[in-house]
């Protein structure tokens, strides 16, 4: 009855193909490959599928085409409505993999596409099909395109923000170095010059992201990028010198009246306690001004370090009154009192704290 069976290569374009697993395939007159199963299942070969796709496209896409019309267009004998119905359904659902999306991050776009596809399908059916179907398609495409573009922009924006952050790092680094060189005081260079600078380098850009990470982001991807940042990197200063920022954080929490980091374990060049005035203390000069200066920057930023959640600082305690200009501003036209040279370490410490705070808050 049937001519010799010839195996056609299995259709690879249908990944959802869970068709016949019958042992024998026969080729009918019409070129269709039918199986000898009790249920006449059709094997969708590549060729056949291509014709199917052509027909569907002719008819305006999988949502517009109906089994009947496809059958008519394809003009393949032996193809029943039943075959086409199921194949069309599978085609509609499995259409995504046929598109070439190189960017895996477009998963969201595809989800969106899928959603709009189904909703527009419903729309298409309930309304005048010929017109709205096309429009619905176009809408889908438009949405997809826009989303894609937005993701592109977002990518670039992220990179640019980072670039700017890195550059700012280098500026500050340079300024630190200039300061350290100028002062030539007996700093422990390791703690002040190199490592802190190194720390700056590691985490400055990160600090930027921390702030952004707390904001309301419209696109999840941006959020995820932040999450993927290595949280631990940079949290630790160079191993031999500074305690972990976690430790610092705890200390800050504990010592509510002493906002400045005092780590007895190490010889910190910056010792804020009025009592301790050791030789190692590089804190020469007026206590007041130093405190004032650090008060301007550090406590708030150190407080920031003690944040729990993503946003910087939940509760800030104003440990010291902010006195930006000693003696108030009575008749003073200066916006800022230039601090003596020795105040530099404070600024650096402040920034250090800020960085700790920045990286801690996540």
């Amino acid at each position: 009855m049937f001519p010799a069976a010839s195996r056609k290569p299995p259709s690879t374009s249908m990944n959802s193909a869970s068709h016949e697993r019958s042992p024998m395939c026969v080729q009918g007159d019409s070129g269709l490959v039918l199986t000898t199963d009790p249920k006449p299942r059709l094997r969708w070969t590549a060729e056949l599928h291509d014709r199917f796709v052509d027909a569907v496209n002719q008819l305006g896409g999988p949502d517009k085409a109906t089994p009947k019309t496809i059958m008519r267009v394809m003009g393949v004998k032996g193809l029943t409505l039943y075959h086409l119905k199921s194949h069309l359904q599978k085609f509609r659902l499995g259409k995504q993999p046929h598109r070439e999306f190189n960017d895996p991050s477009l998963k969201e776009a595809m989800d969106l596409h899928r959603n709009t596809a189904s909703s527009s399908r419903i729309m298409g059916r309930s309304m005048n099909e010929s017109l709205h179907g096309t429009e619905a398609l176009r809408m889908q495409m438009e949405v997809h395109r826009r989303l894609h573009e937005q993701l592109e922009v977002q990518k670039h924006l992220q990179i640019r923000i980072e670039a700017q952050g890195k550059y700012m790092q280098s500026i500050l680094e340079k300024a630190y170095q200039t300061l350290a060189a100028d002062q030539g005081l007996g700093y422990n260079k390791d703690q002040v010059g190199g490592d802190q600078v190194g720390f700056v380098q590691d985490t400055m850009g990160f600090h930027d992201l921390q702030l952004f990470g707390g904001g309301d982001l419209h696109l999840d991807n941006l959020h995820q990028v932040h999450l993927n940042q290595p949280l631990d990197h940079g949290l630790y200063l160079t191993p031999n010198d500074h305690p972990s920022s976690a430790l610092i954080g705890k200390k800050i929490m504990a010592t509510s009246h002493d906002p400045y980091i005092t780590n007895p374990n190490e010889k910190s060049p910056f010792n804020w306690d009025d009592e301790d005035d050791d030789d190692d203390n590089l804190h020469v000069g007026k206590q007041e001004e130093l405190h004032q200066n650090i008060g301007n920057i550090a406590p708030g930023l150190i407080d920031a370090a003690a944040a729990n959640g993503r946003r910087m600082v939940v509760d800030v305690y104003e440990a010291k009154p902010m006195i930006s200009n000693a003696g108030g501003s009575e008749g003073s036209t200066k916006m800022d009192r230039p601090s003596p040279l020795r105040d530099h370490p404070l600024s650096m410490e402040g920034i250090n704290a800020m960085l700790i705070g920045g990286s801690f808050a996540q």
Binding site: E149, Q150, E152, V153, Q154, L157, I159, R160, E162, A163, Q164, K166, Y167, M168, S170, I171, L172, K174, A175, Y176, T178, L179, D182, H207, L211, F212, G215, D216, H218, L219, N296, I297, G300, L301, D303, A304, R311, M312, V313, V314, D315, V316, M322, I323, S324, N325, G328, S329, G331, S332, T333, K334, M335, D336, P338, S339, L341, H344, S347, M354
Partner: protein, 514 residues
Amino acid sequence: MEVAMDEGNDFSRCNFSTAAAMDDYFACAWNNWEQSVADVGPFSASADADDFHDLVESIVFADDVDYDPSTGHFSLPQSPSYNSNTSTCTPVAEEEEHNATATAGNDAKGLRLVHLLEAAAEALGGVHKCPDLARVILVRLRELLGRGGEGTSIERLAGHFTDALQGLLDGGRTSLRDGGQHNHNNKMEVLTAFQLLQDMSPYTKFGHFTANQAILEATAVDRRIHVVDFEIAEGVQWASLMQALASRPGTSSPHLRITAMIRSGGSRSAQETGRLLAAYAASLGQPFSFSQCRLEANSERFRAAGVKVVKGEALVMNCVLHPTTTAARRRTTGSVASFLSGSVDLGARVVTLVEEEVGEGEEAEEEQGRGFVGRFMAELGRYSAVWDSLEAEFPMQGQARAVVERVILGPRIAGAIGHAFRAEEEEGGQVESWGEWMTAMGFGKVSISCFNHCQAKLLLGLFKGGYKVEETATNKLVLGWKTRRLLSASVWKPPSPVLLPVIDSFEDSDFLFD
């Protein structure tokens, strides 16, 4: 203590005639101002700063606040919902405030501060100038404000404006902190504050990124790009441009050359910036070179001949007038004009402009009519919006904000007030909107691309909310906070030289004094 006021109560005007004795003035003033305190129910203490902006807006822009130039009076706002908090009228009125609810007290204080500031500006630069009166008012203001750096954000804002006015009184010129001053202490602090500002707000990035994107688009296929920068400052803008160039898909990245305009005394810092930029470019593998071009010594005018041009390069001119850079000086009108018109001589591809946005519509004209006082109030409104934006985004980081305010915004306020003051005194035009100037000069508009607009929106999306970007013209994006427009970035194409009107006749209306 509340005294119910009858409807239609007529708040008597307070005459600011110069002949008035100081005591009378105070009695009169306080009397009226106490009565005019509004019961501001919807405002809550926690939303202080935010509503201060609204408060300022309502005062500045309300129909009620009228300054009558002919008589020198200004009348106080009248509102049917007024509820007087106190009826005693002594200069020690603030004790009264403490009896009232904290809410009303805060806003009363805010209101009073604004009134005092306006009065001081009036006395200093209004129609009837009376420096002594101004002095007295400033003394009073300082009493109210306590020590600088403390207090609520409203008080800090008022403090800076007070200082600015004081500076006008004292020196006759603004007390700008010279950006070129290589005081290392200041420099560290300034850089830190600048970093903070960049992190806490989109102001800097908005201008830079928009301009850079426009430059990228204009030079998409060029192999050599030459940027002439009006204000190089720390060169922060160019980092992201370099990154974008270095990561351009395709063959090697185009060569970038930056020419920085330098003023007298600015050469060293520009060199430093050049080195930093070169180092950064090297880290990216981006071909880069840096050069300087001097502006004329006194007038700071730009001469196109001073720029070395290489054949085959795409030249763009970048003019960022927004003063959040560490070089916070205001440039003279003549200097800016010469730079912008120099783009014609150089045959620039595009000119990118970032400037502070002027107020809109009728209010702007009204302000103009009021001269210095109007401009003063406009700046007050502008900076109150900036204050609000910082506070709303980072309510807990009061200390950090205070640093930014003190180090960057404060000097800027002083500069703006001084600028307005000098313009008032010296005749001659001040260009408030360079965009308009360029339109008048025949510059063409280069559309802001979809990408650019989208980028700006995404940038703002990183912040909590309240910022918005509008495309007010095809070539212009405006960044604003709530209802207040603050900063604009626009892209222009210079007209061909033939059609250009004679620029040289433009007058130098104001010089920097040093």
